[in-house]
């Protein structure tokens, strides 16, 4: 019913930015209901309830092993929870399969710590991979021989600051440059929401700030939503407006960034029972 109205739309109208205040009244973009997840006998997420609204910039923080990456994989539909339901853009991801799942996934862009690019392809093809959800197959095949929509890819690379690398081979780029290629891919995909799994954990502090600033700019310009897992408190406070603390698979705290106290943060990493 009303939940469904977002799903399947290929081009979102620019949502209002800085919408934290009034967006609470809107429908959530993501909703987790009593979600648990196990790997074998190991309980990674324990009965989570979480709602994420359009326009928010949410940091998910916690010690390693707290379940941050698993949470993101549940949100982008590459993992199905052991129990509970994950709703994304008004659809229950656990009920979808094949083409219908892919249609929702096209509105969710993901950025990874290890970039997850295809090393042996030229940068342009990795960036164009963001088009694969839209392109017909003949065009995708043709593009590997004669690159298609070069202008779009070039613009995206220009935006992330490495326009000169358009035709370079991806494995010849530095870590920071590869992460920029991954961001350019998401730019070309043009999703409603960007998930970022430890996007800066492989980068030095300087590069980390550049990449985080870039991500936030892109999200704000395009009126998108950002969900990012981080392990540095400083980055979370500086670039996000809401912080969710995960501890041993449960939500330890959840609130606007400026209301989270240093004690709460410290607690997160202390005394794993």
């Amino acid at each position: 019913m009303t939940r469904r109205h977002r799903a399947g739309r290929s081009h979102p109208e620019p949502a209002t930015t800085n919408a934290t205040a009034d967006s609470k009244s809107a429908l959530p973009l993501f909703e987790l209901r009593q979600v648990s997840h196990r790997f074998g006998h190991h309980l990674v997420l324990d009965r989570l309830n979480l709602q994420i609204y359009p326009g928010e910039r949410v940091a998910i923080v916690g010690a390693s092993g707290a379940g941050k990456s698993t949470l993101l994989r549940l949100l982008n539909g590459t993992l199905t929870p052991s129990e509970g339901d994950v709703w994304a853009l008004g659809q229950n991801l656990g009920r979808l399969s094949g083409a219908r799942l892919r249609r929702v996934q096209r509105q969710i862009g993901t950025i990874y710590q290890q970039f997850h690019l295809v090393d042996s392809l030229a940068v342009i093809h990795n960036v164009n991979a963001g088009q694969l959800g839209r392109w017909p197959i003949w065009r995708a095949v043709l593009s590997l021989l004669v690159p298609q929509q070069v202008e779009t890819a070039a613009q995206a690379l220009q935006r992330v600051g490495i326009p000169e690398k358009l035709y370079a081979r991806t494995d010849q780029l530095s870590g920071g440059q590869q992460q920029r290629v991954a961001i350019a891919r998401v730019l070309v995909q043009d999703p409603l929401v960007i998930l970022a799994d430890e996007p800066v954990a492989s980068l030095d502090p300087e590069r980390s700030h550049e990449v985080m600033a870039l991500l936030c700019e892109l999200v704000q310009e395009g009126g998108k939503t950002l969900v990012v897992t981080l392990h540095l408190e400083e980055l979370a406070r500086r670039y996000c407006d809401r912080i969710v603390g995960l501890k041993a698979g449960r939500i330890h705290f959840d609130g606007p960034a400026d209301t989270i106290t240093p004690e709460q943060m410290a607690n997160l990493y202390r005394g794993q029972e």
Binding site: V118, H125, L132, V150, L166, D171
Partner: protein
């Protein structure tokens, strides 16, 4: 997104070196096809179709009489024993040869004499080219002339060329092993041999061992082929049954061959996984530093022994228990197996090793040497050129069939591709799709096994049912046999893919075909092509063995010369083959460099 001031980046030229090589390769295949006379003369012999049909029909009625089963069992053991003895000897020879041809060995012995080291290495490596370029079968035919029909023929036929191949690969492995620990010992005055035993050899041990297992797989196939020239075992029995048109017996032997090959391949794959270097050909490909670490292998994540049936709960748990048990105890079992198998093999084949140094052997070898020198050709040089070109065409067609077919079949044969939980399967596939995926998986795996288990000469004889003799049946036979080998190696590449880029493509909602096109193919294609180019050299050597059954080329000439004791002519033909092999090796190396 503002674009102001952005300089236009020139698009790279369309004709990259890779694309030029592709064009050249297509041209070569086309020329070879023309060389078979494809569009000029009748190639197909429809008269043979009934015979082919009765041959195929017999697959459902193998001869299962107790006497014949006994014979099959004995033949299987003989082939296994040949392979075992041959592998052991070749690994021993290869270990010595490998150390002696390793750059690092001579650098440790004479650290200050660079030029001397270079001369020595190039010299020893050049010496090893000769035994390597001559196929097992030619060695076998030669030894038959010396020793008569003795098991020694099969064992030496495997040990000599394999020893040279193992030496080359071992030298590469040793040279690629980190040298700091060795340097530390050498700098403190330890003798080179002792230093090797304490550093490089233990460091490289797992790689050496897993290559040895791979060699054993190849030995089984070579032992079968050697049987065909009369050394006994499965190959011999197969040829007898085929020639006397007893197809039901033939199929009993085939099934034994599938079983033997399947078991040995599966054991070897399990052990190689356990040792952590699943694709041995990677050794030759210069590990790239950017390559992601192979995902940790455990029996739960990647089932090395794939279960064919999506079974009920109880049998699944039993199966997974068995898998875990095998996984945990595989190395112990392998040790035990080797301790039993090696003495048993030597006892079973009853080879007369005293013949090696018997006066008669020495005398015969002397006679061969006198007869062979100086090399002389009975016949026109034109014929030699024609036959060389035919051989080249045959090898090109064979590798084209093997490479393309292997690539196509390797994807359904990889256990992480279409199967549930694989790269291209969704989270909730309907039951029908899952069953189809399992069926396809089992079917392609078995097709690959059948292709590689049946020796190329036997495939050639089958092809001759419906094709007129010429290079086409030879190329098809070689192509089918090598397809089985390449397909399996390529499936292993897919199984060891870094999955993360593929999951990233999946997470953004790309359809399966495009995940394959933008993720799987770019990550695998260069390696597939490199494997095929390596295999081209092998195909070149193997043209000889299909020549044996009348498929043409230099092989046929060579077998004629050998059986008429024309050793002077043999040397000339071998020289031609050697040149061709070197040429193929050179081209393949340059192509691989361009692909990297």
């Amino acid at each position: 997104m503002a674009l102001d001031g952005r300089a236009e980046i020139p698009r790279p030229a369309f004709w990259t070196p890779q694309r030029r090589w592709l064009l050249a390769a297509s041209g070569a295949v086309l020329l070879s096809l023309l060389g078979t006379g494809l569009f000029r003369q009748a190639l197909f012999n429809p008269g043979g179709i009934p015979q082919l049909w009765s041959f195929l029909q017999a697959s459902l009625q193998p001869d299962l009489s107790p006497e014949f089963l006994q014979l099959t069992g004995r033949a299987t053991l003989t082939t296994l024993a040949y392979a075992c003895c041959g592998t052991l000897l070749s690994v021993l020879a290869g270990l010595v040869g490998g150390v002696l041809t390793a750059e690092v060995w001579w650098q440790s012995v004479w650290p200050r004499q660079q030029t001397k080291v270079h001369v020595l290495i190039n010299g020893t490596r050049a010496l090893l080219v000769i035994p390597r370029a001559i196929h097992e079968l030619i060695w076998g035919l030669f030894f038959v002339n010396i020793f008569g029909l003795d098991p020694l023929v099969a064992i030496l036929g495997i040990a000599i060329p394999y020893g040279a191949i193992v030496a080359k690969v071992f030298a590469e492995i040793i040279d690629e092993t980190p040298r700091q620990p060795l340097q530390a010992l050498l700098n403190s005055g330890v003798l080179p041999l002792a230093a090797f035993c304490y550093t490089l050899l233990p460091q490289a041990f797992l790689d050496l061992l897993s290559y040895t297992f791979y060699r054993f797989e190849c030995s089984i196939r070579s032992a079968t082929v050697l049987g065909i020239i009369g050394a006994g075992g499965l190959g011999y029995e197969i040829l007898l049954s085929l020639q006397s048109l007893r197809y039901s017996q033939l199929w009993t032997l085939f099934y034994a061959l599938f079983l033997l090959n399947g078991l040995v391949d599966a054991m070897s794959a399990l052990l190689r996984h356990r040792l952590g270097s699943p694709t041995r050909l990677d050794l030759n490909l210069k590990r790239r530093s950017t390559q992601a670490p192979i995902s940790s292998i455990s029996p739960t994540s990647t089932s090395v022994v794939p279960s064919i049936v999506p079974a009920t709960r109880e049998s699944v748990s039993l199966w997974s228990w068995l898998q875990r048990w095998l996984w945990r105890h595989s190395l112990r079992l392998a040790q035990l197996g080797l301790l039993v198998l090696i003495p048993f093999s030597f006892w079973y084949v009853q080879a007369d090793f005293s013949k090696l140094v018997a006066p008669r052997t020495v005398r015969l070898l002397g006679e061969v040497a006198r007869a062979a020198l100086p090399p002389r050709l009975n016949g026109s040089p034109d014929q030699l050129v024609t036959l060389s070109l035919q051989t080249l065409a045959m090898s090109i067609l064979a590798i084209a069939i093997a490479g393309l077919g292997g690539m196509l079949l390797s994807f359904p044969a990889a256990h992480n591709f279409f199967l549930p939980g694989g790269i291209l399967s969704g989270p909730r596939e309907p039951q029908m799709r899952r069953v189809a995926a399992w069926l396809g998986f089992g079917l392609t795996r078995n097709v690959l096994l059948i292709c590689r288990a049946i020796p190329a000469p036997i495939w050639a004889l089958v092809a001759l049912f419906v094709l007129f003799p010429g290079i086409l049946p030879g190329a098809i036979a070689l192509g089918i046999h090598n397809l089985g080998i390449l397909g399996r190696l390529m499936a292993e590449v897919t199984e060891n893919l870094d999955r993360r880029p593929l999951l990233a493509l999946k997470a953004q909602g790309s359809p399966g075909v495009l995940i394959w096109l933008y993720g799987v193919l770019p990550l695998t294609l260069t390696r597939f092509l490199a494997y095929s180019l390596y295999r081209w050299e092998v195909c070149m050597r193997e043209t000889v063995i299909v020549g044996l059954v009348g498929a043409g080329g230099l092989g046929r000439l060579l077998t004629e010369q050998l059986s008429s004791f024309d050793y002077a002519g043999v040397l000339v033909t071998l020289g031609c083959l050697m040149l061709l092999t070197l040429g193929v090796d050179g081209i393949s190396r340059r192509a691989r460099q361009a692909l990297r």
